[in-house]
Structures are given as structure tokens and as C-alpha cells.
Symmetry: C2
Subunit: 287 residues, 2 copies
């Protein structure tokens, strides 16, 4: 039994659509609403999920719900949240999100609900895919994922408990941290790998794509996430700019070290360098 | 029916062991021999493959065979090939290898067999794993892999045909190119991704490994190959040094571009950059 009576998902892309599927499976009896900006997307939701109340009206979608989840790219969240805050909101409304950046998102969205009955708490379920759109939504996308929740000193204990409970019911392992700690951590473990996959793809293929004929699993895995949505990732990189720059500068310093070892043919240093990377990578449990 | 009567695999690691399994499955009736440097490895081969003739003697392993495959790290191939060339060799012996570098390997190994009855032709089946050792050998490792074969102007047509036929029988798609073209291509599609996975791992985890608690599929895939054997990869990087340096310098130039876009907050340029990478990555068929 969920403590939420009605949940509204804002933007039914890969993450929003997967949330709808997961809620329908795991929280039976809870009303689910979906807001989409475009009428075509509203129609698609109605066809895909007949039991869901879909609308392009923010006011109709937010009225009476106890939980709203923002699932659009981070750069569009503030605009939707402002429109939401101007609507008639439930006394117990919590607004959260699924964005990959928390510092700037929490700083922008928390004050939007000051003076309303609602509050904002940032969430980031660490699940996704290079694929985008409702057509790729999966009911198991969040299962056993880490979900990072970033309360602030303004967050009430009971609201915090409700958000934690929501993600646990969806199958996530919830971890709590400050928005700043989140952005540092995720820059290293998600945004940096994304940028490196992009750089690898560009350096490998820009001059001559025919080398792809000879590719194997290493190239496929190392560059998979470079197929992600460019607009979404541009927003993430710019919203977490300082941490992404710092992580890329560390990678750039390592690149300089590696080039020096190759240029001086220092096999011993090169082995130590590769051994250090292997020891770190081997910390990750095999799947 | 194979045209090879007896095949010797030199060094039963992941690739050598996988070759033994594949030959036993796909070329029944062909004698298989395995040479290993260490007696413990010889014993392990005897336990794992009772039908195989295992020995630590290069002379005993090469005597009478029609095909020998060098499967040790590239930096050790020349030494073993020289010892081999001093043995009693069959009239029809072809020596090949499975190394990830071909320019320097072919330049070193082809002349070793001048004045003998044997010849060397370079091969590179594009299959592997971050795992190492006979324990991880798989009979399907080469199935549907690209195998790059690098004949030179000294290579006889009939020898070339036999090598091609051997790899096709093991399930590979054979492609032919010069050793130089091979090294350029593989630097981009394999050695660069390996180096980038190493740099990503070091930049992500060196300061604080606890960020790993929040990792997801993106980090796992992007860095998987950084778990590969450091000694083997140090040899590959140094044997293909010029091409690896050129590929890393291209990646470094892209890194500089990306950092400039982030520093100037140029969202349009950043989107174009990510869109270009996505378009290139999307050329690779989904699996």
C-alpha cells in the first residue's frame, strides 16, 4: 500500500514512461496522471496506458495529486515548476524530479514552491539508456538502481520519508547526500564517462568511418552512451559545468601523462599506469 | 575437413585456450598441440584438454605441424619465433599469430623464417575480453568476429588461401589489409577505446573510490576494458606507438574543444558536438 494517493508524471520520455510502467506494476490502486507538452504525446500515452489520466494542461495534471515527478531535461524543469506553482496545489504535494544534476536544479526549484503548500526535493534514480522516448520505456528500468535523494536543511522530515519510501517501493536502493556531493559524485561516475565516450567516438570515426567494419565489443561498450540524446546531455553538462570541467581536466592530465610515457617508451611506467587503472576498475563487482 | 593436419597453439591464455576449444569443436580429426612456457600451464592444458598434446618444448611442439599460432603478448613473439625457426620445421608450415598489432610484428617475424621452409603471415581475430587466462577460454569467442589478415608482397597465394580458410572454418569473417592499414584502423577502433577507458577510470576513481557506490551501466560499460591485462596492453601500445599517439592526440584536441565550449557556456556548439558524436555512433548496428 502506497502512502501516495495520486502521482503525476511530467513528460513521458524514457524515464517518465518507465516510471509510469513501474508505478502501475508496483503501486496498484494509485491514480497515475501524465502531463505532456505536445498533444501527440498525450495521445500516445492514452493509447499506451488506458488507465492513466493524460493531459497537456499543467493545472489539470497537478490538481489533487500528492506527488509530482519532473522527467523533462533539466534545462526545462524550472519553467514547468513555475507554471505548476501558480496552480491549485494539494496541501500534501511533494514535487521531485529525475534529473542528473542536483545543485543547480535544487537551487532553482526549491524556492519556486516557497509560499505554496508544496515543497521540492531532488531525486536522481541512476538508471537510463542511450535510447530515448516512451517507446523504449521499461517497467524494470529502476529495479535495483541507486536512487540519490538530495534533501536540504529546508526539507521536512516527513516529506523526506515519503520520497524515500516512494523510490524504495519502486525497487531502488535510496542513498541520501547533499546536492553538492551528488554533483561531484555523478560528474565522476556518469558525466565524465559520457563525455569520454563522445570524445572516443569523435577521435575514432571523424576521419574515416570505415574502421567501424572491424570493430568489436571494446568499441561498442566504450562508446555506447555517446548515442544518448544530445539536447539532454548538453543541458546536463552545462548545469553541472564546474564539476564536469574539473573531471575532464583530471582526465586531460592523465592523457598528458600517458602521451609522455608513450613518447619516451617508458614501458615500466606504462605498466604501472595500466595496473593502477585495472586495480580501480576491478573494485566494481562483476555483473 | 580441414586442410591442416596438425595445429600447434603457442601459449594457452584466453585467446590460445579459446582457439584450442574452437579447433576441437570445428575441426575434428585435426591434431592439436599446445606449447606453454611454464610446466604448471602444461599440466593445466593436459587436465583441461585430454586429447591435446601439451609440452614446454618448442621443438616437440612444432615438429611436423602444418600451422602454428602465436598467442602470447606481442612483445614476446619474436623470441619464441626465433627459437621455433631453429627447430626442424615441416615443408608446409605456416606460422601466424593473434596479436593486436601487425606492422611491427610482421616486420619482426617475417624475416625470422627467411631461409627456413616456413613462412609467417600476420592475423588478428578481433575478439577478446577484459578477462585473461585459460580458465576464461570460450569455444565461441571467435564466432562471427572480424579476423584481419595482413599478407605482404612476400606472401605466397597458396599460404594466404590456407590462412584465410583456417579462420573462416573457425567462424570468423576474414578481411585482408596491409599491416600498416591494420595498425591505423585498430588504433582507432580498439587501442584508443582501451586508453580512454583507462583514463576515465583513473579520473573517476583516483581521488575517491566511494563514488563507485552510485555507478550504473554507463560507467560499467565505458570502463569495462580498463580491467584488461596491463602487461599485454603495455606491449600493444608500445608496438603501435605512433598510431596510438596520433589517435590520442586527436582525442586530446576534441577534449580541448569540449572544455572551451563548457567554459564559454556555448550550448549550441555543445549540442552540435554531441550530435556529431551520436550520428557517428549510430552508424554501428545495434546488437
Amino acid at each position: 500500500m502506497s502512502s501516495e494517493r495520486s502521482i503525476a508524471i511530467f513528460s513521458p520520455g524514457l524515464l517518465g514512461g518507465s516510471l509510469v510502467k513501474t508505478i502501475l506494476q508496483r503501486l496498484p490502486g494509485v491514480e497515475v496522471r501524465v502531463w505532456a507538452r505536445r498533444e501527440e504525446a498525450v495521445e500516445e500515452v492514452r493509447r499506451e496506458f488506458p488507465s492513466v489520466i493524460a493531459s497537456s494542461s499543467i493545472a489539470d495534471s497537478i490538481r489533487g495529486v500528492s506527488l509530482a515527478v519532473l522527467c523533462m531535461p533539466v534545462q526545462h524543469m524550472q519553467d514547468v515548476a513555475r507554471q505548476m506553482a501558480a496552480c491549485d496545489l494539494s496541501d500534501d504535494l511533494i514535487v521531485t524530479d529525475v534529473g542528473s544534476v542536483k545543485g543547480s536544479v535544487v537551487a532553482e526549484l526549491e524556492p519556486v514552491f516557497d509560499g505554496t503548500k508544496a515543497c521540492f526535493i531532488g531525486s536522481h534514480p541512476m538508471a537510463g539508456s542511450q535510447r530515448t522516448g516512451l517507446a523504449h520505456a521499461r517497467g524494470d528500468l529502476f529495479y535495483q538502481s541507486a536512487c540519490l535523494v538530495t534533501p536540504t536543511e529546508k526539507t521536512k522530515r516527513e516529506d523526506h520519508d515519503r520520497i524515500r519510501s516512494f523510490w524504495i517501493k519502486l525497487g531502488c536502493r535510496v542513498r541520501e547526500m547533499t546536492p553538492q556531493k551528488h554533483d561531484h559524485c555523478v560528474a565522476r561516475i556518469s558525466h565524465l564517462p559520457h563525455a569520454m565516450a563522445v570524445l572516443t567516438t569523435l577521435a575514432a570515426l571523424s576521419d574515416d568511418t570505415s574502421v567501424l567494419d572491424n570493430s568489436a565489443g571494446g568499441f561498442r561498450d566504450t562508446t555506447r552512451i555517446a548515442g544518448g540524446d544530445p539536447a539532454m546531455w548538453a543541458g546536463i553538462f552545462l548545469h553541472n559545468r564546474d564539476e564536469v570541467i574539473a573531471a575532464l581536466q583530471d582526465a586531460s592530465a592523465r592523457m598528458t601523462e600517458l602521451l609522455e610515457m608513450l613518447q619516451s617508451m617508458d614501458e615500466e611506467a606504462l605498466r604501472r599506469f595500466l595496473t593502477q587503472a585495472k586495480a580501480l576498475r576491478d573494485l566494481l563487482p562483476a555483473v
